[in-house]
């Protein structure tokens, strides 16, 4: 019998009980649900090793910042997994605390998570405990702030050549006023 979303939902709920919630399929038939940050790695290992589920591929993993959520739901880490044998994808998210976003590292389960987690750390400051070498990967090592957070401006604040008033923004860096 081919794998369907209901079977996955039923097996995951029966294995993890109340730590998985908010199942939904309105994202174009792709089963999406939430999981507690403590249970992420066990869930991932279970999805990979279970004979009927067989999610053998971690497609991608990224951080998301929700500044106006309440404190312990301000950061989310979204995992996409893909079952190549039955061609089914799932997406599960885990919400993390705003001040100190921390989740267990998935490098023990999939080697591909190594750089993905370093990128999430670099962009959002989410620390992955147990990561072999958690450093900044894309930005300069001397950079202290985490640029993809919503409050971080896109343009480089220190530039002098572009006067913000011509771009319809308040004169942040123009020294003419």
């Amino acid at each position: 019998m081919s794998l369907t979303n209901e079977i996955i939902k039923q097996k995951v709920e029966e294995k993890f009980g109340e730590s998985v919630k908010a199942f939904s399929e309105e994202s174009f038939g792709l089963l999406t649900f939430e999981v507690e940050s403590a249970k992420v790695i066990d869930l991932m290992r279970y999805l990979r090793d279970d004979e009927t589920l067989r999610f053998n591929f971690l497609t991608t993993m990224c951080g998301v910042h929700y500044p106006d959520n309440d404190l312990n739901r301000q950061f989310a880490v979204v995992y996409h997994m893909h079952n190549w044998l039955d061609n089914l994808r799932i997406r599960f998210k885990t919400y993390l605390n705003g001040e100190n976003p921390e989740v267990e590292s998935a490098t023990k389960v999939f080697l591909t998570a190594n750089w993905m987690e370093r990128e999430a750390y670099d962009f959002y400051g989410i620390t992955f405990t147990g990561h072999p070498d958690l450093r900044r990967i894309l930005n300069m090592d001397e950079m202290v702030s985490h640029p993809l957070r919503k409050e971080f401006p896109m343009e480089d604040g220190g530039r002098t050549d572009k006067d913000d008033r011509y771009f319809g923004r308040e004169p942040q860096n123009s020294n003419l006023n």
């Binding site: 994202s27 080697l111 450093r135």
Partner: protein, 412 residues
Amino acid sequence: MSEIVVKSIEDKYAELIKQRENADGSELSILNLGPVHPATHGIFQNVLLMDGERIIESESTIGYIHRAFEKIAENRPFYQITPLTDRMNYCSSPINNMGWWLTVEKLLGIEVPKRAQYIRVIMMELARIADHLVCNSILAVDTGAFTGFLYVFQYREKIYEIYEEMCGARLTTNMGRMGGMERDLSDTAYRKIKAFLKEFPAVMSEFESLVSRNRIFMDRCINVGPISAEKAISYGFTGPNLRAAGVDYDVRVMNPYSSYQDFQFDVPVGKSGDTYDRYCVRNAEIWQSVRIIQQAMDNLPSGPYHADVPDYYLPPKEDVYQNMEALIYHFKIVMGEIPVPKNEVYHSVEAGNGELGFYLISDGSRVPYRLHFRRPCFIYYQSFADIVKGHLLSDAIVILSSLNVIAGELDA
């Protein structure tokens, strides 16, 4: 928060040097396959710990052209994000563009007419040929066969001419629109594609006869940098590098998009995942792409080249001056006020290097709330340190160019 000790790569290796005194007295040395290097066809740095000629350990540093695509994507309306995508994998930019358009159309639920889908397939397969041509000819240049590069780049220029017919640009194509293509295949484009299909196979077989059975090339590439299928999957390999390892995962076959199911093509698969397999898989894929373009050109359906969705597709200019609705639509689209549902979508396409995925979270406003690019180069390049252990330095260079790591996609 746990205080993360940031140790520079060189200090870490210095300790290894002190521990490991060699029997014959020759010390280990640190070599920089660094940012400005003829062999790294792009800007990434590998600090190699070397014992004479053999590599013991390697550490990659990337991010030298990090341009914060995901931050820019959060400040731009939907139709302005395509110029970002074709600067990711700039060897095959139409595939990235079409990937983005397919994601947005999936989110908005737009049904693209058959003719536009066929034109998109033609453009994507031409881009795949261009991407594989660059990778294989540069791999041949790295092992010393320079003439192949010169022959093959002539035909890459022909592909660029076809792009120019379609969208006016050679490299950063920004091709396609929400709901189809921006213009129909002009008859010069039609003629150029026909000419390309007629002449290219001869040049390709000449290139293959020059390089594939070349004694030096085979010695330099066979059994160099093999990777097993399980490790490739665990490292997140997709695309030609994974198929070279023996796994026939191809997004065009697994979940076909843009009417790929109408075409017959096979997915070439290697055995041992070494450099020669990656080269052969890319060569075979070029032949399959030619086959797809041939089929697409033969039964190219007639009809409109874009969906009738005035909310998202810019009305023709003369209509905008005549009637009022076209003016309103034109104004709303250009200002980015297009009706976008509050939803999230993940869609992936088979790019030149693997599965290029777009994870889009939209909160109904004119800009995406979060857009994450699943970049194949970024994901499989982390295995380079693992593959290259124990090889000679000259093998490391051949492995690097056979992995076809493109800096734009790596540091997006």
